[in-house]
Symmetry: C2
DNA sequence: ATGAAAGCGCTAACAT
DNA sequence: ATGTTAGCGCTTTCAT
């Protein structure tokens, strides 16, 4: 079944294609009579303008490309939802690229996006979260950014000078640790996070700073970086519990590790938060479904997505844009934190 | 900065655009010498063929459109991941449309997909899960399906005769209920699910059938449909616990309600599974992060996505296609189910 | 093996 | 207000 084109419509309406195009775009005045006639025919013939042809001449596609590492990690759908919400109002459509953590896929997708002539790119996760990213990989992104508006979401690329939108993880960690301290904890551990990721060092730095500010010592053997998963959280907690001296509270790199930590603690007979307080980071959906509900720091993932689109739009309009737009995280106090047990109450 | 085109390449290589196109597509023999020359120039100039122009002439875009109700619901990212995995190998790219449960958005996206000339459509959730879908909405989908290969994933449209891929929810529920029965339960409840969704009636039908097959009575007041959320699960469980006579096991419409049910049960001082067994459906990630880990029925979301793409490909190739490809669900036994308490052990 | 030229379906000057 | 026409960047006959 042949697709109907502007020519078909023009012919049937006895006008030129230009007029058809005009009513399609409202780009120039058309007499009410012919307009209605054309519109009627379009409806009747179920005319669907070919977006490809249209984009080809207009040199814009209305597509925003989104690169993210793992749509299966609940944080990202949340961000993506925000992106969609903000972009949809202006008629944007999205090309979602899931890199599954592969830097090659990032490169590949970057190229595909260029071939597809997306109007802008949102780059989330992956190489932009590395503490030290290979200069070639940095350059690649910069080169793309020179041709297509691009914003880095929750990450950075050394010396690239790219436009960024990010939650202030440092401030967020301060919030979490301060909360623990206010509850009366003095013996606080920190677990999770791969050492080569910048989020790990940022949060660790904030952790140390918050402790120092309260004149509390950091017990190094309670600082256990490693990974971001639930299983990592379990492992870390297991190691912590094997120590003769244990913290009364643990600050976790993210909600996953926090949940793992809780599971292990509970399995070993500890009560959370009575015996051990645990705080996470991100506020993924899971955080309030888990028992006990997790005290955590909200990154406001949806808002992050919306903001990213707003900033990208500015970039696309060649407006003035701040190099860094930062979002303030919020502490969400739920059930996994409480004052520490009194000395006498401590379990063996 | 002007994009480089086949003409630029042709000019620099002193050949015609046709030859350039040939090396780009490998569509016809080109002498090794000129091929290499052209390839070198392409690399040097960072040539990126314009996918729009290409698709315009080739009449294919390599894009698969995916309509789903809520990317924030962990089941769908899992499906989408499978879709990507299967499609990427063949160079497909995806246009993800999140309808947020709005039927109008479904219509809107269906039209956008047509304008974008996607090569195929995967329709997941929304109106195709309705027990009785408005005929006009059915017709709309059918009309699109007549022009673009389209497969219905985990749903159906009455009398539409469309190609479908779905997990066998009936069989899955039988699995869950039988597991409970095998554990020795005789007093089993069923909670969750909106009554106007087909999944609810299918699962309820399976529930009744499994009970009957085991000569067990269904206690109607323990059958509480309602909704699909964690909160719904909490509500339902609360009502169940207020009854003088209670079931020893509950079959839940999905993992969310199951998790809600567990939370409420635990809050009320019951032990899961010792006092009350609970089984879910879907096997979302949450299911093994929750405490106790949830016994549930896996829909194999990833596999569902992969299969959907495979079937869609057949449709696109105009191969013979089965009207219904069905996936066998699997019972995943974890910690939330056990034999019922002996009478004497029952808590008040 | 390579080139010339006609489209693909639409928009945007430029005319009238 | 409407029509004519030249692209947009590529692929694909049809020649040679």
């Amino acid at each position: 079944m042949k697709q109907v084109t502007v020519y078909d419509i023009a012919e049937e309406a006895q006008v030129s294609v230009a007029t058809v195009s005009r009513v399609l775009n409202g780009s120039a005045p058309v007499s009410a009579a012919t307009r209605e006639k054309i519109e009627a025919i379009m409806r009747k013939r179920q005319f669907q303008p070919n977006a490809l042809a249209r984009s080809l001449t207009k040199k814009e596609t209305g597509i925003i490309g989104v690169i993210l590492p793992d749509i299966t990690n609940p944080f990202f759908p949340e961000v993506f939802s925000g992106i969609e919400l903000e972009g949809q109002e202006e008629g944007y459509t999205f090309f979602l690229c899931n890199t599954k953590g592969s830097y090659e896929k990032e490169s590949e997708f970057l190229n595909i996006m260029r071939e597809k002539r997306v109007d802008g790119i949102l780059f989330i996760g992956g190489r932009i979260n590395l503490k030290r990213c290979d200069p070639a990989m940095v350059r690649e992104v910069v080169e793309h950014a020179e041709r297509i508006p691009l914003v880095l979401v929750n990450g950075d690329l050394k010396d690239a000078g790219l436009t960024r939108v990010a939650t202030d993880e440092y401030a967020g960690t301060i919030l979490a640790v301060s909360h623990l301290i206010e509850q009366g904890h003095t013996r606080i551990g920190f677990i999770g996070g791969e050492s080569h990721m910048s989020t790990t060092s940022v949060k660790l730095r904030a952790f140390r700073s918050a402790m120092k500010r309260a004149d509390l010592p950091v017990t190094e053997k309670w600082v256990l970086p490693g990974s971001f998963s639930v299983d990592a959280g379990r492992e870390h907690m297991k190691r912590l519990l094997e120590m003769p001296e244990r913290p009364t509270a643990v600050c976790c790199i993210n909600d996953f590790t926090a949940i793992g930590a809780i599971k292990t603690a509970v399995e070993q007979g500890l009560r959370v938060p009575d015996d051990l307080s645990i705080v996470g980071f991100d506020d993924i959906l899971l955080a309030h479904h888990v028992i006990p509900e997790l005290t955590t720091v909200s990154q406001q993932a949806g808002e992050l997505g919306r903001t990213a689109v707003r900033v990208l739009r500015q970039l696309m309009n060649k407006d003035k844009v701040k190099k860094l737009t930062s979002l303030e995280p919020r502490l969400i106090v739920r059930q996994s934190t409480s004052p520490p047990p009194r000395q006498g109450d401590r379990r063996p």
